[in-house]
Amino acid sequence: MRTYSGHSTPKASNELYRANLAKGQTGLSVAFDLPTQTGYDSDASFARGEVGKTGVPIDSLGDLRELFEGLQLEQMNTSMTINATAAWLLALYVALAEEQGATLSKLRGTTQNDIIKEYLSRGTYVFPPEPSLRLIADMIEYTVEHLPEFNPVNVCSYHLQEAGATPEQEIAYALGTAIAVLDTVQARGVSQASLDKVFGRVSFFLNSNLRFIDEVCKQRAFARLWDKLGLERYGVQDAKLRRFRYGVQVNSLGLTEAQPENNIIRIVLEMLGVTLSRDARARAIQLPAWNEALGLPRPWDQQLSLRAQQILAYESDLLEHADIFEGSVVIERRTSELAAAAWAEVEAVLARGGIVQAVAEGYVKERLVAANAARLVAIEQGTQIVVGVNEFRESEPSPLLEAGSVDAILRVDPASEAEQIERLQRWRAGRDSAAVASALEALERAAREGSNLMPPSIAAAKAGVTTGEWANTLRGVFGEYRAPTGVSGASTPETLQEQLTRLRAELDDLTEQLGRRPKLLVGKPGLDGHSNGAEQIALRARDAGFEVVYEGIRVSPKELARAAADEGVHLVGLSILSGAHLELVGETLERLRALGLGELPVVVGGIIPEEDAALLRARGVRAVFTPKDYRIGQIIEQLIALVRSTSLPKAG
């Protein structure tokens, strides 16, 4: 068991790692901050307010040195949640290992390195799909030769379920991703023996929700299809190499803000789905915390989840038995059903030319947005019951939520950002700038010529190049990418016709009175990748009859304000789940005022603690929405009323 951690500065994270290792933790799982994940230096304008927030900032080899101070990489097993910039972080890791005199072939660890799910859900992509896949293949080629113990790719279906995927979709798009990676490697003309090795190195990261019987079957179907792929598509003869290896983090999307203590029960049930069946049991399990929908968990909240695992493992008799589902007709039937449906979707993806094309065309994201819409509409209409949300809402006052306990959710010290920027600037001043320039030149040349990018990246790491410089050099060659939002091709489920008819009539009436259609700008400022809420609001608003300008994730407050002015919108809606709402909303309001748009109504949605919501309202935000407002139809109604009251001249 290991905890996914890292925060504020390399030094602080190092202390945390050492403490955890001393407590008997066996490996490290490094969380990076969003600027590092999206290829920005800590002093880039996009990084403002984000440095050290969701993980550790790594700007250069110096930072990595400090992160692993006193630790021997040769003896570590390091898992890094890094994707678009994975090649760079691996380059830094190799450079540091060499510095420590380690034998490279002994390095063990994992880079997540699944770029497809970044386009579809997680959002920390940088380059377009083709060059991104090339970077992955370069890493695989490099590790197979030099770091044979390293897992270069961990295909994630976890994030797809968090973006609304059904079990069939989760299987299909994850397998589609693995196929894209393996095909790219195969196309480079590697030997069958190498291909076998690569196949055996591909591991997965799954999700598991409350429909835990289905989840048992999903894992079985996954394993079955993976075996089939290995044998039939890639000719892997050794059955051991075709074993489906995976870890799981159980579902968070279904955890609620209302009556949050119920979530601990949900988490335990979710855990059953990935443990009950011995033949379909996760190698590693991570559990979220009961207060997931409120904000970042504190150590005590995490401890409670850890205890749930320990009680299952040590107090129950689960681990004493062979597979308890062996011979079950019900499980077998459902497994075959899921496998067949998932395989049909794999074929649909392949028919489009593979997952890369299917993603670039917007097809896959549209399917996810539609699936998520169906889920949310079912909850809104009460056909899917969520205890404490749309049923059994009455509650005794919760002692867990008493004043003093909630505002203790973890907050990050803003001073660490300044500290990190200072470190970075010192680093830049202290290096050999001619060496940096020539290392970047070599990197650019390799990018253009198509040779493997690992060696020049490692050389750049040693020369003192920074994360932003590495990424910007490749941006210059590959271009920067924006993934389809999936909203245009999805539509609100038919079951909601009545609501839509009512909203459309209201909006038609308002259109008459305004002289033009109400126009809504939905914005996601900052590096926050949580797009589910913004997508669903944009989708419903459009289907109700708004003209919606939605530009996807990672749009700066400045760009949003400019868009509001250029587009002549009636209303701005910001969606922020990263915890940076005070800074980002403040900056957006300021920018709007600077453009003479101080009167434009602004609303905010996301994970906003009540005391912050009050602050935002005091600064002029017209309304704040949180996951408690699960009836999107009612939100749209409020938006219409707001446009009515702000854009029409007041009656007499």
Partner: protein, 321 residues
């Protein structure tokens, strides 16, 4: 100076917030607003800067890369120090009237760049390819910016709407899509002034498509070698060929200006656009009552000559009827 005069001044000074407000005004269909928007357009027209800008109309099937190409065009034009206005038209849902206007993202502009303006508009349902207010919005944009690019979607008839508002019509296709054949069959190749085969970076399929297109054009323009529109290969992704595309478009406009056709073209275009708007309100019967299209257009030409906008002329004629 009254409020509208001031707005016009600021539009001419390329104040993007004012341009935004001016376009919102011409989109407004309330009777009182349309009087004001009529006056705004008149002020722009008499400012001496009217239609100073060159308007490119980009059309072509979805997925061809129009939005990406608009972004590349804007980038290259800004590098040439041209001010740029973009109007991206997306379809609206016939059922709800709503629309998702998201393509703006592809225009990766610097938010501090005051000389790059981007507006999106829904097609509005009442006209096929272009929003009712698109013509007026283009008037605002061409008064303010040196290069104006209008992007529209839609295959078939409505596609040609864009020719009513732009000086140079650019048809964008992608290789190996089958679209090409369809266009050749539908006779759409008669309309564009410049043709683009995008996604040059896909390799030989693109060059092959361009060759096919050139052959098809030669066949549809027998004996008119001079009037065969140029075919440009571009990669919106890498910006390859985009400089050449801008050059070809500039040549087209220079030709129009040299032959004195630019003004006549624009007048004819405005008349056709007004006719389109009029027919949309009055229907085929309304046109019949006036004695057919030719008569209707003649009446519209008179009204336009009095300084009305296309929209103003169409509504005046609808009232006169």
């Amino acid at each position: 100076m009254d409020e509208l005069q001031e707005l016009v001044e600021r539009v001419l000074a390329r104040d993007f917030a004012a341009v935004g407000r001016a376009i919102s005004l011409v989109e407004d269909r309330r009777p009182r607003a349309s009087e004001r928007s009529e006056r705004l357009l008149q002020l722009l027209r008499t400012s001496g800067r009217a239609a100073a800008g060159h308007c490119l109309g980009l059309t072509g099937p979805p997925g061809a890369g129009k939005s990406t190409l608009v972004s590349a065009l804007a980038r290259v034009a800004r590098r040439r120090a041209l001010s740029v206005g973009v109007l991206a038209v997306d379809p609206s849902s016939p059922r709800s009237g709503g629309a998702l206007l998201g393509d703006r993202v592809r225009i990766e502009g610097d938010p501090d760049d005051e000389l790059l303006y981007v507006r999106s508009m829904a097609s509005g349902g009442d006209l096929g390819g272009l929003a009712r207010a698109a013509g007026a919005a283009v008037e605002v944009l061409t008064a303010a910016y040196e290069l104006v690019v209008v992007e529209t979607v839609g295959v078939g008839q409505s596609e040609t709407d864009v020719e009513h508002v732009s000086d140079t019509v650019v048809l964008v296709v992608q290789p190996a899509s089958g679209d090409l054949l369809q266009f050749i069959k539908a006779g759409i190749l008669e309309i564009p002034d410049v043709l683009v085969v995008n996604k040059l970076d896909l390799g030989p399929v693109a060059t092959r498509a361009a060759a096919e297109l050139r052959a098809a054009l030669a066949a549809t323009h027998p004996g008119r070698q001079a009037s065969v529109p140029p075919v440009v290969l571009t990669s919106a992704a890498t910006s390859d060929g985009v400089d050449e595309l801008l050059d070809r478009c500039a040549e087209h406009r220079a030709q129009l200006a040299a032959t004195g056709a630019l003004e006549a073209e624009r007048a004819a275009r405005r008349r056709r656009w007004a006719y389109r708007l009029f027919r949309d309100w009055a229907g085929a019967r309304g046109v019949q009552q006036l004695g057919g299209r030719a008569h209707a257009e003649a009446r519209l030409a008179l009204l336009l000559g009095e300084g009305r906008s296309a929209w103003g002329a169409a509504s005046a004629l609808a009232e006169q009827r």
